[in-house]
């Protein structure tokens, strides 16, 4: 057997800290989940002190940015609404059209309408309820763009409820929604200390004796730089810098909160992408130093900007758009980026209209909304899951396909076509609570039968 690749015995496992171990950190050790969202905000504010916390309302100015100057009527507003929100109807498109291009884009980019965060007890063991809450919110919110954008960020900063527990991922999604239009820095700072992420990528097991590289690798490969812009040594050094970032379970054992364990932190200096990282007296700041290094690199904005463009613009956005988008994102907020994109002349070209494939959730929400449904009935969860997108369990750490043909396997196309029958049938999904109108869901959509056309799959 010795000609087979042999496997080394893995190193001994990390000694787990005794429960009485004192942990030190800037975050309260006892934090009821209600206020846990406050603790991360306070920490964020503290760490961002110096005025870098971006105000959300600032838009990119400057005369050099090209702005679409063609007609902006129902036709164009329909495209904008479908792309931004993945739901809508003709009267909403008309309302946008009356606001003019800038007014319409600004109204879509309004500060996200945040749902009340429910306790773990509210959901209990009814895990389908988490998905229902999200779909129902998407159907009723005044800021549907925030929902499509939150789905993007959740597919970017992936966690799977099957590993993190549902409430931790629910809480993460809520925070992503709140920061969805903010700076990429705000999002990255939040996610680095997010309990679901710390559990999902095993940082909670990472100690100075046995640093776990899972988070360090994905932080660069999937969350900021993309493949090919760092070395294995950088991964090891980042893993060391984040040792001690872990979670503690709440007294009721229902969810986790962030906690820094100084005794698990590797105190020696690190070198990350050519920068020295060392904080002898405030070791937790080493993690933020690493984030700042990544946030200082243009590659991060090229990578994130391209993903956003593939999700909101075109499967092949082109170098020029990616370069310009990176500039906008680096100098501003996600809102600035989307404002730039939604007012860009190319956004309204024929080549861009209907160039993206709806993900199953977008397909379901868009169709439910068009069919006048504002609340999903219980059994619909399973029909949505049959479309191959369980929003609480992305397929893996690299997330879902980005608005691409990957969604449309034979089986999934069959299920999508069957889904039309289910949604438009009163007896299986309840009576419509709002006017029925398919024109935003699909160009040329007039009735259920018309939704069989390929265009119904597109955004």
């Amino acid at each position: 057997m010795d000609d087979f690749a042999t496997i080394q015995q893995s190193p001994p496992e990390a000694a787990t800290s005794p429960p009485e171990a004192q942990s030190t950190g800037v975050f309260p050790v006892v934090a009821p989940h209600r206020s846990s969202s406050q603790s991360w905000k306070a920490a964020l504010a503290l760490l961002l002190a110096g005025g870098t916390l971006t105000s959300c309302g600032r838009l990119v100015g400057g005369g050099k940015t090209p702005v679409y100057s063609g007609p902006f009527g129902r036709h164009e507003a329909t495209h904008l609404l479908r792309r931004a929100a993945a739901r809508g109807n003709a009267s909403e498109a008309d309302e946008l059209a009356t606001k003019g291009l800038k007014g319409a884009v600004e109204s879509l980019l309004e500060t996200p309408d945040l749902p009340t965060e429910e306790d773990p007890g509210y959901f209990g063991k009814e895990f389908t309820r988490y998905t229902h809450e999200w779909v129902n919110h998407w159907l009723n919110t005044s800021t549907p763009l925030a929902e499509r954008l939150t789905l993007f960020w959740h597919g970017h900063f992936v966690t799977e409820a099957s590993k993190t527990n549902f409430w931790n991922t629910y809480h993460k999604i809520n925070k992503l929604r709140e920061l969805s239009l903010s700076t990429f820095k705000d999002l990255l700072y939040m996610i680095a200390a997010d309990p679901a992420m710390l559990i999902y990528l095993d940082n909670t097991l990472s100690t100075k004796k046995h640093p776990n590289e899972n988070w360090a690798r994905e932080l660069m490969e999937l969350f900021t730089l993309g493949e090919g812009h760092y070395t294995e040594e950088d991964i090891q050094e980042i893993a060391r810098a984040f040792t001690g970032w872990r979670v503690t379970i709440d007294a009721g054992r229902q969810y986790h909160y962030f906690d820094f364990s100084a005794r698990d932190h590797d105190p020696d200096p690190k070198t990350v992408l050519g920068h020295r990282v060392h904080r002898r007296y405030n070791p937790i700041f080493e993690g933020y130093d690493v984030l700042n290094i990544l946030l200082g690199m243009r590659q991060t904005y090229l990578y994130i900007g391209e993903k956003l463009l593939r999700f909101f613009f075109h499967p092949e956005p082109g170098r020029e758009m990616i370069e310009k988008g990176a500039d906008v994102l680096k100098g501003g907020t996600v809102r600035d980026f989307l404002y730039w994109l939604f007012t860009h002349p190319d956004f309204y070209s024929d080549k861009v209209r209907n160039a993206l494939v709806k993900s199953p959730i977008e397909y379901a929400v868009g169709m439910l909304y068009a069919a006048g449904r504002r609340e999903v009935v219980d059994k619909l969860f399973f029909r949505i899951r049959d479309l191959d997108q369980d929003p609480y369990n992305p397929p893996d750490v690299s997330g879902w396909p980005l608005a691409s043909m990957e969604w449309l396997s034979d089986t999934m196309l069959i299920n999508r076509l069957k889904f039309i029958g289910i949604v438009t049938n009163d007896s299986s999904s309840g009576t419509p609570q709002a006017p029925v109108d398919y024109s935003v869901f699909m160009d040329g959509g007039v009735d259920p039968l018309s939704l069989i056309a390929p265009e119904a799959q597109l955004l």
């Binding site: 893995s10 893996d396 990957e406 396997s409 089986t411 076509l417 069957k418």
Partner: protein, 404 residues
């Protein structure tokens, strides 16, 4: 009727935007393939190795029984495999496998198989087994790379509703069929309208993404027709399969093989192996699962022999990891490391590959059987069987286990 040429004409890749649709893509069997068929089965949850392949050595048995006082398989119930130089037996539920496969030299057991730097999560372990890449599970599956090479979305088929990552390529993905009998549009008022309505609405060519969707819908119509063809009476297996999940899946695979469906790879999974509590011993939860599996596999062998295909079929059964050596407080076992992989087929060289598990504590890897054979050596053997270059599917440096 030559189905292969039918498929050959109708093919196009479900490619990402930009790739030219290949209308004359090769099919596995017609061009790239060698006529061999690989069936992969995933026992999801982590099959308990020590109660599947059981020691028959007296000294080791004392340790085994002390580690597992509530769930050990009694010596009298263990079926001795009489493997040369080894003291190993099988769970009594696996009697059909011993009688039909092992005793005919058609069952290879790969002991303590797994991947390096073990992680005990089902999620990560499954991703690693699916992609064949322990470093960073990539987007495409190990068999997805085969599908990409064949440039043929029909060359691999999953028997299940959701396509496993193993069958996702970069340019094409395998087919996913929940059940042959139910694949298609269904018989409700709405469903009945679909085939004709789809045909009507996709008649007109489009451009851009809409055209890609139109082609995908055309492909869907053809795949429904193709799979429905297998429902004809003459393709029903002559063997009776057990009435359980495994039986249904293996019966569907046998049916598609009989129909000459152009897949070279069939993939299926069944769960329930995550036996953290009350897993049972010679009877109980785990025993029931093994019994169902063994019954289905024995029926599949019989059917393949009847079809004259048994020498051309390789069945590979794996689980994402094994379980801990010592039972837990709930009369179950927690996630462990080294697993057991089965190869079965007419061409298989039966026997035990790897070592007989050591049961003294000093040989454990943190309470688990250590991993001693890299799973990619097993994959390499499976890849070679279907005529693929193992290095293309699992990377270089992994010699195929000599099970064929």
């Amino acid at each position: 009727m030559n189905r292969r040429s039918f498929i050959k004409r109708s093919l196009f890749t479900l490619a990402a935007a930009g790739a030219a649709p290949s209308l004359f893509g090769r099919t596995a069997l017609a061009a790239g393939g060698n006529g061999k068929i690989l069936v992969v089965y995933h026992l999801f949850g982590g099959n308990d190795v020590l109660n599947t392949l059981i020691t028959t050595d007296a000294d080791k048995r004392r340790l085994y029984e002390s580690y597992r006082p509530d769930i050990f398989i009694p010596a009298a119930d263990t079926i001795d495999l009489k493997a040369t130089g080894m003291s190993l037996g099988m769970h009594p539920s696996l009697k059909p496998l011993v009688d039909d496969l092992w005793n005919n030299g058609q069952l290879a057991l790969v002991s303590q198989v797994g991947y390096p730097n073990h992680n005990r999560s089902h999620f990560l372990s499954t991703a690693i087994w699916n992609t064949g890449d322990p470093n960073r599970p990539s987007k495409s599956g190990w068999l997805g790379r085969f599908i990409d090479e064949q440039n043929d979305p029909y060359c691999a088929t999953n028997l299940g509703n959701t396509l496993p990552r193993a069958l996702r390529g970069v340019h094409a993905t395998g087919l996913s069929i929940g059940s042959v009998a139910r694949y298609g549009f269904g018989h409700g008022a709405w469903e009945k309208k679909l085939p004709e309505e789809v045909r009507r609405q996709i008649a007109r060519q489009r451009s851009g993404t809409a055209e890609e969707v139109r082609r995908a819908m055309d492909h869907m119509l053809r795949s429904v027709k193709e799979v429905r063809g297998a429902m004809a009476k003459q393709y029903a297996p002559s063997t009776t399969f057990p009435l359980n999940r495994y039986g249904a899946q293996f019966a569907d695979i046998a049916r598609l093989i009989k129909y000459d469906f152009p897949s070279q790879v069939y993939y299926a999974a069944g769960g329930g192996y995550d036996t953290h509590g009350k897993q049972g011993g010679k009877t109980g939860r785990h025993a029931d699962l093994l019994s169902q599996l063994a019954g289905a596999l024995a029926a599949f062998r019989k059917e393949m022999i009847a079809q004259g295909k048994w020498n051309d079929v390789l069945v590979m059964i794996f689980s994402e990891f094994g379980r801990r050596v010592k039972q837990n407080a709930s009369a179950g076992t927690d996630h462990g490391k080294g697993g057991l992989l089965f190869f079965a087929g007419g061409a298989v060289k039966g026997g035990i590959y790897g070592e007989e598990p050591e049961l003294d504590e000093s040989s454990f890897d943190h309470g688990d059987l250590p991993v001693k054979i890299d799973f990619r050596n097993a994959y390499a053997a499976a890849a070679g069987f279907i005529g693929a270059n193992p290095a293309d599917l699992v990377g270089s440096g992994f010699n195929p286990l000599p099970v064929i």
